[in-house]
C-alpha cells in the first residue's frame, strides 16, 4: 500500500495550486499591502520622494508600450541570462576537475575565494579599463561576480551524492555517460536549480551597476536617466521592470523545479 498519495489531495497540495509559477495567494496579499502602504505614504510625503501608485503604474505602462523601453528591458534580461549562462558553464568546467582532483581543488578554491572578496564595482572598473566592447564588459562583470557562488554550489551538489547510490549504480557497470545521466545529473540538479535562483537575484543587482557606468541602453542606463532628471516614479517603474523580469525567471525555474523534483516527499508539519 502506498503511504502517501498525490499532492493534490493533501492540504499542502491544495495550497500549491499556483506553485507552477512559485506565486501564492499570500504573495499577492503581501505585495498589495506594500502598494497600499506606499500609496498612504504618498499622501503625506512630498511627491518627488513618494510618487503615487497610479503614477508609477502609468510609467510602467508607458515602458511596456514603447518599443525602445521594451528593447531596454529585454537587453537587460538578455545580459543577465547570458552572464548567468556563461558563469554556469564555467562553473561546471571548474567544478568537475575540482571534484575529481584534490590537487586541482587546492589551487582553484583559494582563487575562487579571492574572487568572492572582490566587489562588483571593482569588476566594473577593471572591465572598463580592460575591454572596449560594452556588451563584453557587462558579460565579463556578470560572469566574474556570479562564478564563485555557482562553482561552490555545483561542487557541493556533486559532493552530496550518496556513496550508496554511487556504488549501487556502479555495480551495473554503466558507461561514463550513463553514470552521468542516471545518477550524477539527477543528484546535482536540485543544487543547480538553487544556484540559478540565488544567482539570479545577485545578477539582477550587478547588471544594473554594470549598465549604470558603461551601457547606452538597459534598465541600469534608464535608471541613471531618471536619477539625472530626479524622476522617482520613473526610477521605481524601471526598478519594477527588473523585479518583474526576476520574478518571471524565478517562476520558470520554480516550474522546472516542480516538474523535475516532484519525487520529493513533503512533510505535513512544518518545522
Amino acid at each position: 500500500m502506498a503511504l502517501a498519495d498525490g499532492e493534490g489531495s493533501s492540504p499542502r497540495g491544495a495550497r500549491r495550486k499556483f506553485a507552477f509559477t512559485g506565486f501564492h495567494y499570500e504573495s499577492v496579499v503581501a505585495l498589495a499591502g506594500l502598494a497600499i502602504v506606499w500609496q498612504i505614504a504618498s499622501f503625506f510625503v512630498p511627491h518627488f520622494l513618494f510618487p503615487s501608485v497610479p503614477e508609477i503604474a502609468t510609467r510602467l505602462v508607458d515602458i511596456f508600450t514603447s518599443w525602445k523601453s521594451i528593447g531596454d528591458a529585454l537587453a537587460t534580461g538578455a545580459r543577465i541570462l547570458a552572464g548567468l549562462g556563461g558563469a554556469f558553464v564555467l562553473s561546471i568546467i571548474l567544478a568537475i576537475p575540482m571534484a575529481r582532483s584534490p590537487a586541482f581543488e587546492r589551487y582553484a578554491y583559494p582563487l575562487l575565494n579571492f574572487n568572492q572578496g572582490i566587489p562588483a564595482l571593482s569588476w566594473v572598473v577593471i572591465a572598463i579599463i580592460w575591454f572596449r566592447g560594452i556588451e563584453f564588459r557587462i558579460f565579463f562583470i556578470m560572469v566574474m561576480t556570479t562564478l564563485p557562488a555557482f562553482t561552490f554550489q555545483v561542487l557541493d551538489a556533486y559532493r552530496a551524492m550518496s556513496k550508496d547510490l554511487f556504488e549501487m549504480t556502479l555495480a551495473f557497470r554503466p558507461s561514463r555517460l550513463d553514470l552521468f545521466r542516471a545518477l550524477i545529473w539527477p543528484t546535482v540538479l536540485p543544487g543547480i536549480l538553487t544556484a540559478w535562483k540565488v544567482n539570479l537575484g545577485n545578477a539582477s543587482r550587478v547588471v544594473v551597476v554594470a549598465e549604470l557606468v558603461g551601457a547606452t541602453g538597459g534598465v541600469g542606463y534608464e535608471l541613471l536617466q531618471q536619477q539625472q532628471i530626479f524622476d522617482m516614479a520613473g526610477a521605481i517603474a524601471w526598478t519594477l521592470v527588473l523585479v518583474i523580469f526576476v520574478l518571471v525567471v524565478q517562476g520558470v525555474i520554480t516550474f522546472i523545479e516542480n516538474r523535475t523534483l516532484r519525487y520529493r516527499a513533503f512533510a505535513e508539519h512544518a518545522l
Binding site: D5, E167, Y263
Partner: protein, 251 residues
C-alpha cells in the same frame, strides 16, 4: 575434467588505510574459496567481520590488496565493464533512486544494459507483480514502506537475469514479520533463477534456511569453517548451529 569455479578467491587480503594515518585496517586476510556455477552459498559472520568487504571484492567495487579474484574467468575489478548485466546485487538497504518510480528503479539495470524502453518496462512490471507490488509501479520510493522498497530492490537485482546474485544482508533492516515473509519469496526466486548466489548474513537461522552451503567467517574475514547444508538432517543442523555459535563467541 571438472568445470572451472564461477567465483574463485586465492589468498585474498584487503587492507584499508586509516584516515588519521594510523595502522592500516585489515578487513580480509588470506581468504581462499571456490564457488561453482549455480551454488547458493550463505556467508555468516559477526557484524564487522569483513563479510561486506568480501562482497565488494566479488562485485569488483574494490580491488584486493593481495591475492587473486576470478569471477567467470575474469578479474571483476580490472575487467569491470565485462560484467555488465552479469552480476545482480541486493544491498543491505534498498538503495533506490528517490527520483525514479518503483518501475524505473527496477528497470535501471536493464536501461544501463541498453534494453529498449517498452521491453524493459514490461519485464520490470512483471517483476514488481511477482513481488506483490502491482499497482505501485509509478510510486516514488518515499511513498513505499521499508519492506516494499526492499522488494523493489530485489526486483531490480533479479530483473536483469544475472548469472551471479550477491545479497548483502537484504533483510536485516526489516522487521521480523516482513523479513520472514520476504525470505520465503526470496528463496523461491533464487531456486527458480538458478543463478550462482552468495547470501551474506549475520543470522544463523537465515544462513541455514537459505544456503545450500555455508561459510562462517571470523575476523578479519577468513573462513573459520564451512559446511554443505543440502540434505542435512535436523540433528546435523543442530550440530552446525552449535559450531557456529562457538566460532562466533570466540571471535
Amino acid at each position: 575434467m571438472s568445470a572451472p569455479p564461477e567465483i574463485l578467491f586465492e589468498r585474498v587480503s584487503k587492507t584499508f588505510p586509516r584516515a588519521d594515518g594510523g595502522a592500516a585496517f585489515e578487513a580480509v586476510r588470506d581468504l581462499s574459496f571456490a564457488i561453482g556455477r549455480g551454488e547458493l552459498v550463505a556467508i555468516l559472520g559477526k557484524t564487522g567481520c569483513g563479510k561486506s568487504t568480501a562482497f565488494n571484492l566479488i562485485s569488483g567495487l574494490i580491488r584486493p590488496s593481495l591475492g587473486r579474484i576470478v569471477v567467470q574467468g575474469h578479474d571483476p575489478y580490472a575487467d569491470f565493464a565485462w560484467f555488465r548485466g552479469k552480476i545482480g546485487i541486493v544491498f543491505q538497504n534498498d538503495r533506490l533512486m528517490p527520483w525514479r518510480t518503483a518501475i524505473e528503479n527496477v528497470a535501471l539495470g536493464l536501461e544501463l544494459n541498453k534494453m529498449p524502453g517498452p521491453q524493459r518496462l514490461e519485464i520490470s512490471a512483471s517483476w514488481l507483480a511477482r513481488l506483490g507490488l502491482s499497482g505501485h509501479e509509478h510510486d516514488y520510493p518515499h511513498a513505499l514502506s521499508g519492506g516494499m522498497r526492499q522488494r523493489v530492490s530485489i526486483a531490480r537485482a533479479f530483473a536483469g537475469k544475472p548469472d551471479i546474485l550477491l545479497c548483502d544482508e537484504p533483510f536485516s533492516a526489516l522487521d521480523e514479520h516482513t523479513g520472514n515473509a520476504l525470505r520465503e519469496e526470496f528463496r523461491e526466486l533464487l531456486r527458480l533463477t538458478g543463478a550462482t548466489s552468495i547470501f551474506i548474513t549475520h543470522s544463523i537461522e537465515e544462513a541455514l534456511a537459505l544456503g545450500e552451503r555455508l561459510m562462517v567467517f571470523e575476523r578479519p574475514a577468513r573462513i573459520a569453517f564451512e559446511a554443505a547444508l543440502r540434505d542435512m538432517s535436523e540433528a546435523e543442523r543442530e550440530a552446525v548451529r552449535g559450531r557456529i555459535r562457538k566460532v562466533l563467541s570466540e571471535d
